[in-house]
C-alpha cells in the first residue's frame, strides 16, 4: 500500500513538472544556443528597465529596488537604481565607476578574482551569453512561456556566494527576461527586465561617472 502511495505521489510530482517544463533535447539545445549566439553577435546595444527582488526567507516582503540598465558592445554596462535610492555602477574595462547618490568612487577590479568573476557574470547575463563559461554545469529546459537555462557554479568560491544562476529567455527573440541568482541558503535575487530596446544609439557619455 505504502508503495502505491509513493508511486502516485511520484507520478503527480513528475506530471506537474512536465506540464510546465520539459528538458530540451540535444538538437533543441543546439538550435537554442545558436539563436542566443546570433542575437548576442547582432546586439550592439540594449537599454531596459528592471525590477530587482531580494528574497530572504525571514522577511515578510521581498526587498524591491528598480531602475534601468544600458549595454554597449562589446562590454560596457551601466546599471542604475532609481528607486528607492539613486545608485549607479558602470562596468568599463577593468574598472567599476560608482555613483552612490552623489558620492563617486572608482574601483579597480584587478586584485580580486571573485569580484572580477561576479562582474563578468552580471555583464554576460545581460546578453545571456554565458554558455561557454567553464565554471558552470549548464542544463536547458523550456516552458510554454520561456526557455530556461540553469547554471550551477562549480567554482568553490563562487558557489559559496551564488550556487545557481537561472536565466529565462524569450522564445521568439532570445532576449533575457529574467535573471535569478540563488544562494546556497536558497535566498535569492531575482531581476526582471522590461521595456527592452535593442540597437538604439547610445552615447559613450552614458558610461562616464
Amino acid at each position: 500500500m505504502r508503495n502505491y502511495i509513493f508511486i502516485i505521489i511520484l507520478l503527480i510530482g513528475s506530471m506537474s513538472v512536465s506540464a510546465q517544463e520539459t528538458e530540451m533535447s540535444l538538437s533543441e539545445i543546439n538550435s537554442f544556443r545558436a539563436q542566443i549566439t546570433e542575437v548576442s553577435d547582432n546586439t550592439k546595444s540594449i537599454t531596459a528597465d528592471f525590477i530587482q527582488y531580494k528574497h530572504l526567507d525571514f522577511l515578510t516582503n521581498d526587498i524591491e529596488t528598480s531602475g534601468n540598465m544600458a549595454f554597449k558592445a562589446p562590454n560596457w554596462v551601466k546599471w542604475e537604481y532609481t528607486e528607492p535610492y539613486s545608485y549607479s555602477v558602470i562596468f568599463k574595462e577593468d574598472q567599476l565607476l560608482i555613483n552612490d547618490d552623489g558620492t563617486k568612487s572608482n574601483i579597480k577590479m584587478g586584485s580580486s578574482k571573485l569580484f572580477k568573476k561576479l562582474n563578468e557574470l552580471i555583464i554576460n547575463s545581460v546578453t545571456g551569453d554565458m554558455f561557454d563559461d567553464e565554471t558552470f554545469d549548464v542544463s536547458y529546459s523550456s516552458t510554454p512561456d520561456f526557455n530556461k537555462v540553469i547554471f550551477v557554479s562549480t567554482d568553490k568560491k563562487l558557489a559559496k556566494m551564488i550556487a545557481v544562476f537561472e536565466l529565462h529567455f524569450n522564445k521568439n527573440d532570445g532576449a533575457v527576461l529574467e535573471v535569478k541568482m540563488i544562494e546556497p541558503s536558497q535566498d535569492y535575487t531575482r531581476i526582471v527586465f522590461s521595456n527592452r530596446v535593442v540597437n538604439s544609439k547610445i552615447s559613450d557619455a552614458v558610461f562616464t561617472n
Partner: protein, 206 residues
Amino acid sequence: MRFLLISLIFLLQTSCALQMTKDWVKSESTQKYIENSYFSELTTDYVYKAKIDVYGHKFGGILIIKKIGKEEHRVVFTTEFGNKLFDFLYQKDIFKKNFIVEDLDKKMIVNTLQKDFKLLISEKAKVEVQYDLDDELVFKTSDDKRSNFYFINKKTHTLDKIVNTSKSKQNVEVLYKEIIDGMANTIWINHHHINLQIELKKFAKK
C-alpha cells in the same frame, strides 16, 4: 618619592576618567530599565540603504534587520545587487555568523560589526546611574566591561543617541535621527578609535 608616585597615580586616574560625564550631575533614578524599541516589531522588515566609510574607502549596500523571535534578530548586509556580504543571528547572548564573505571574515572586523549591531538592536538594559542634563536624560548601563549611555530627548521623549564607552574613552556613538512614529529614518554609527562611519537611511515607502 612617595609623593611623586601618589601624584603620578592621581594624574593617571584623572586623565583616565571618562571626560564625557565630567560635569554631569547624577540624579535620582526614575526607572529600572531603559528601552530601545527601534527594531522591536516582529512584523516589520527594517531595510536601510547603507553608506560605509572605512579609512577613506567608501562603499554602499543594503542593511536588513528583522526581529524574528522574542529575543532574536537577524542582521544581513548585502550589496546593491543583492549579494550577501554577511548574515548574523543574535539570540539573547548568543551570536552566530550564518555567513560572511571571505574578505570580511577577519576577527577584528567581525567583532566590530557584531558589537555595533548588538548596540543598535538591544532592546532593554538595566539602568545603573541616571543623569539629568539640560536637554536630555541620560541612563548609564553596563555592557560587559564597557558602559552604554542612552540619551533621551526631554522634549520629544525619543532615544536620540547611545554612546558606548570604556572606563576612560568613548568608543562608538549611535545617533538616531528623523524619528517618525517610533521609526528612526536615519542612523549614524561613528567610531572614535577606528576610522569607521556607517550611515543608514531607511527605504522610503512607495
